[in-house]
């Protein structure tokens, strides 16, 4: 399975990089950009069955600095492997 971890600066924490990106977008003539916040996306390839609690511990212990950052975990369960008996039949139309 895979998990995506989105790391963003907490609201109220000044984001100089976001500000610089914002200015650059304006410099390119893009109007109407209200604000830009920059963050990180970390993609984890995990053993099937890795618990939510384990992923959260990874975020708290290393991936995010919770003094200044929030994190959000998005789990993506693996697609069943062909021949595992659980694979959808071709053409079944079922996801």
């Amino acid at each position: 399975m895979k998990a995506l971890v989105f790391i963003t600066l907490k609201p109220g924490v000044l984001d100089p990089q976001g500000k610089a990106i914002h200015h650059a977008l304006e410099g390119l003539g893009f109007a109407g950009v209200q604000d830009v916040r920059a963050g990180k996306l970390i993609e984890l390839d995990l053993a099937d069955g890795t618990s939510e609690a384990d992923i959260e511990a990874m975020c708290r212990k290393l991936l995010a600095n919770t003094v200044i950052e929030n994190f959000r975990i998005e789990r993506m369960e693996s697609a069943p492997r062909p021949g595992s008996g659980q694979a959808p039949r071709p053409g079944s139309g079922q996801a």
């Binding site: 000044l14 100089p16 990089q17 290393l62 600095n65 200044i68």
Partner: protein
């Protein structure tokens, strides 16, 4: 004084602080590799040097704070052994949870590399006893992520407890309340962005940093 300098891959001020310590204490520090799990027996001062440990991957200091040697550094800090973290070393101490707050990208986004004026806020600590409170000193800075931030309650607490050791006397990096260096609650851990070890002899352009190590030597020896 038996000093230890922790060396991470990407440390680049480890030699600077080793030279400063040897000059002031008369004894060369042990250079301890990040993969080691123990400090030399009898270590009574630990320095985390400046640099770009692990290439600043993930966040400045984040990987170094989880290096094997840091367990021994934390245990020593809890026992009361004095620990200084300069520049990247300060970032490592915050990431390791030995000091509160975090060091973010400089507000001006530029790498800042020049001598800066600092005010000594607390002259009662192990590290600042050789300075006068309110004195202005000049240390060089060289950093990209020196913008100290913490929530208001934390800032109020460290201010109230006299744990701001040094404050910038001029605009440098956008740090909250111009904080340049802070102490832990027990007063034996100091983190600061400016480099006292680069202001040791006249050829450095100033010697204001020397007293930090002299004061410490007096306190520890």
């Amino acid at each position: 004084m038996n000093s230890a300098v922790i060396v991470f891959p990407g440390s680049n001020c480890d030699r600077d602080i080793a030279v400063a310590l040897e000059q002031v204490t008369g004894r060369a520090p042990a250079m301890v590799w990040h993969r080691d799990s123990e400090l030399p027996a009898g270590t009574d001062f630990i320095a985390l040097p400046g640099g770009f440990s692990y290439g600043d991957y993930l966040r400045s200091g984040a990987m170094a704070a989880r290096a094997p040697i840091m367990r021994a550094v934390s245990e020593a800090a809890v026992r009361g052994v004095p620990v200084i973290g300069v520049c990247n070393g300060f970032q490592v101490l915050t990431e390791a949870g030995l000091l509160p707050g975090a060091l973010m990208r400089n507000a001006g986004l530029s790498f800042v590399c020049r001598p800066v004026a600092l005010t000594v806020e607390n002259s009662q600590s192990l590290f600042t006893a050789a300075y006068r409170a309110g004195e202005t000193v000049t240390f060089p800075v060289a950093h990209h992520d020196g913008n100290y931030q913490a929530d208001e309650a934390t800032l109020d607490r460290i201010e109230g407890e006299g744990r701001v050791a040094f404050r910038y006397a001029e605009p440098v990096n956008g740090s909250a309340r111009s904080i340049a260096g802070i102490l832990n609650d027990a007063g034996n851990v100091l983190g600061l962005m400016p480099h006292p070890e680069r202001a040791i002899e006249p050829a450095h352009g100033g010697t204001d940093g020397r007293r930090l190590f002299e004061g410490l030597l007096e306190a520890v020896a």
